[in-house]
């Protein structure tokens, strides 16, 4: 069955280019994509995921406030009945050039299943999605 992804750029972030490309690439790769575009709140992500019975939520953050914007996202998902939903985050998710291992650790601690560094190409995300959604 075709898997459904909810896609969007979190917070007050308006970086629209990568989002449009991810939308295109995921769709080409055979996913059903619910693209919320830029400036998406945690609530909007969750609402859309419930409505579309999504298999995964793909969060982009480019502008540096990712760490503030993502706080408590997993807990909100749990509360909304999306327990265990696949959560990805990627982009330039923190302010500045920081060692990726540390950043990854912090976001994994926040409950994200996978964390991607700056400029990860869509091929990589797609490969991971296939892997993570295979047994679901």
């Amino acid at each position: 069955m075709r898997k459904t992804l909810v896609l969007g750029v979190i917070g007050a972030d308006v970086h629209a280019v990568g989002n449009q490309i991810l939308n295109y690439a995921f769709t080409e790769a055979g996913f059903h994509v619910v693209n919320l575009g830029v400036m998406v709140s945690q609530e909007e992500f969750i609402e859309a995921a419930i409505e579309s019975a999504a298999d995964a939520i793909i969060v982009s953050s480019l502008y540096g406030h990712g760490e503030l914007d993502c706080q408590g996202f997993r807990e909100k998902c749990d509360e909304a009945g999306l327990k265990g939903i696949l959560l990805y985050v990627g982009g330039n998710i923190v302010v500045g050039k920081q060692p990726f291992e540390e950043v990854e650790k912090r976001f994994k601690a926040m409950g994200f299943d996978r964390v991607f560094g700056p400029g990860t190409p869509p091929e990589v995300d797609i490969a991971c999605l296939h892997e993570d959604l295979a047994d679901k």
Binding site: A12, V14, V17, I21, M39, G64, V95, G96, K97, G119
Partner: protein
């Protein structure tokens, strides 16, 4: 009041002002007369307008970074470093994204968390939260003049606080800080908000304090055709001038093709002056700024230096009044002060090596200039027609109609019908002209140029070309050709 391109009545402005200053406690610190007096004692050589005018006269290109961190002292250290180690001629204060959306409470949280974590948790300087006194600590600590750089649809309070805070230049505009920076803000709202900003600057002008204004040229920074960004810049210049602004820097984001870039900067200056004159604004000084490559950067620092240096060369050869400088960290995140200074020093070296040089003029350059000139005239005349002669109404209707259309913009109020791609020489053309009111000859020209490239690459014209072009510079080339 009915929105139109008319200078605001002073009383009306003052009544609005009362509301604006209430939006956050620091608003109460602003006293216009005191602020004018404060601005009046800033030495001439620390004013933006002075530096720009000197540069125009000497035919020089000044260099300016982007930079902003959440806390005042750290911000001063940062700007000091860029001035001393980066040889910056002009300084910025980049505002964080929460402030840009008037989310001052989130900004406050960012300030607090930055203090406790010892890490910058905001992507810029929250000037509103720091207030007039905080801003003055910054602007008075430096030798070079300082500009506010942001991306704020409703920047009224920010303008009040920062200009009272001693900044002598202010970036943005009702179009250029909406379409690339917002999703749901209407042009009606943002044009109105920016009339406020411009009217305030006009008041300072009336008091003999000249503040530089700079529409944000690059828009989304991603394959924006020169005619689109030039049209927006010219419109914002007209709107600012009507409210009393007298010193304007029109901007442009490097496209990557030397001839197109030089042609764009030259026509931008020419046509801005042309339109200002045509509408009776005869005492406005126009300077230009070239932004080094505003799209996706290569992650490798050596390659990033290459992109920076080529942008610097273009700025010098186009004789832009200033150049906004990127850093070797661009692809990764907000740069360290060292990386920022390195970008500046590389830029300074190129600018100085090219200081006494100019591009060889020639037919190709003239042709490119003629094309941009004609395209821009097509767009602007239709815009003004739609507005029945009024630039504000025209702007709103032009965006509705897709007559002005910015590629890859997040705004709901942008048509998003045009599709840009590079031609075989790397110049940006239109794969799909959308509803831009270009004449048949121009439409055919774009089609032909894109087809020439497709033929050279043995592939059909398609969206894949656009994607390839978006990634191209970060992958080490200008034109995204199939491998």
């Amino acid at each position: 009041m009915q929105l139109s391109n008319k200078k605001w009545d002073l009383d009306y402005f003052m009544s609005q002002r009362e509301e604006v200053l209430k939006a956050w406690p620091t608003g109460s610190e602003v006293d216009l007369d005191e602020a004018i007096a404060y601005q009046a004692q800033i030495p001439k050589e620390k004013r933006f307008v002075t530096k720009l005018n000197e540069a125009i006269k000497a035919g020089k290109t000044l260099i300016q970074p982007r930079a902003g961190v959440p806390l005042i002292n750290e911000h001063i250290v940062l700007l000091n470093h860029l001035e001393q180690e980066g040889e910056a001629d002009l300084l910025p204060t980049t505002i964080d994204s929460y402030t840009r959306l008037n989310r001052y409470e989130d900004a406050q949280r960012g300030i607090e968390e930055s203090k406790t974590s010892g890490k910058a948790m905001l992507n810029g300087f929250p000037a509103v939260n720091h207030g007039v006194s905080g801003c003055r600590m910054v602007t008075s600590a430096l030798k070079a003049p300082v500009q506010v750089r942001h991306g704020t649809p409703d920047a009224r309070l920010l303008t009040e606080i920062t200009i009272a805070g001693g900044f002598t230049s202010y970036e943005g505009g009702g179009i250029s800080y909406n379409i690339p920076y917002a999703k749901n803000a209407t042009l009606q709202d943002t044009l109105f908000f920016w009339q406020y900003t411009d009217r305030l600057i006009g008041l300072y002008e009336d008091a003999g304090i000249s503040i530089n204004r700079e529409p944000f040229g690059p828009l989304t920074g991603t394959l924006v055709p020169p005619c689109v960004s030039n049209s927006v810049a010219i419109l914002e210049a007209l709107l600012a001038a009507e409210q009393g602004v007298k010193n304007i820097t029109v901007g442009y984001g490097q496209c990557g093709n030397l001839i197109q870039d030089v042609a764009a900067i030259r026509t931008l200056k020419q046509q801005t002056e042309e339109y200002l004159h045509r509408f009776g604004y005869k005492d406005v000084t126009v300077s230009t700024v070239l932004h080094q490559w505003m799209g996706g950067f290569p992650a490798d620092e050596a390659k990033a230096f290459a992109v920076i240096c080529w942008g610097s060369a273009v700025a010098a050869l186009a004789n832009a009044t200033k150049v906004i400088v990127k850093t070797p960290h661009e692809a990764m995140g907000v740069p360290t002060k060292e990386a920022n200074a390195a970008g500046l020093r590389a830029t300074k070296q190129v600018i100085m090596m090219l200081a006494d040089q100019a591009i060889a003029d020639g037919e190709r350059l003239e042709k490119e200039m003629a094309i941009i000139h004609e395209e821009t005239d097509c767009i602007l005349s239709r815009t003004l027609e739609l507005g029945e002669g009024d630039a504000v109404l025209g702007t709103i209707r032009a965006f509705e109609a897709g007559v002005i259309d910015v590629p890859f913009a997040p705004s709901r109020f942008n048509a998003g019908k045009i599709m840009p791609a590079r031609d075989n020489n790397g110049a940006i053309r239109l794969l799909d002209v959308g509803r831009l009111p270009l004449n048949d000859k121009l439409v055919a020209y774009h089609k032909d140029m894109i087809k020439q490239r497709a033929d050279a690459e043995h592939r059909g014209v398609s969206f894949q070309m656009v994607i390839d072009d978006i990634y191209a510079i970060s992958k080490g080339r200008l034109v995204g050709r199939p491998q």
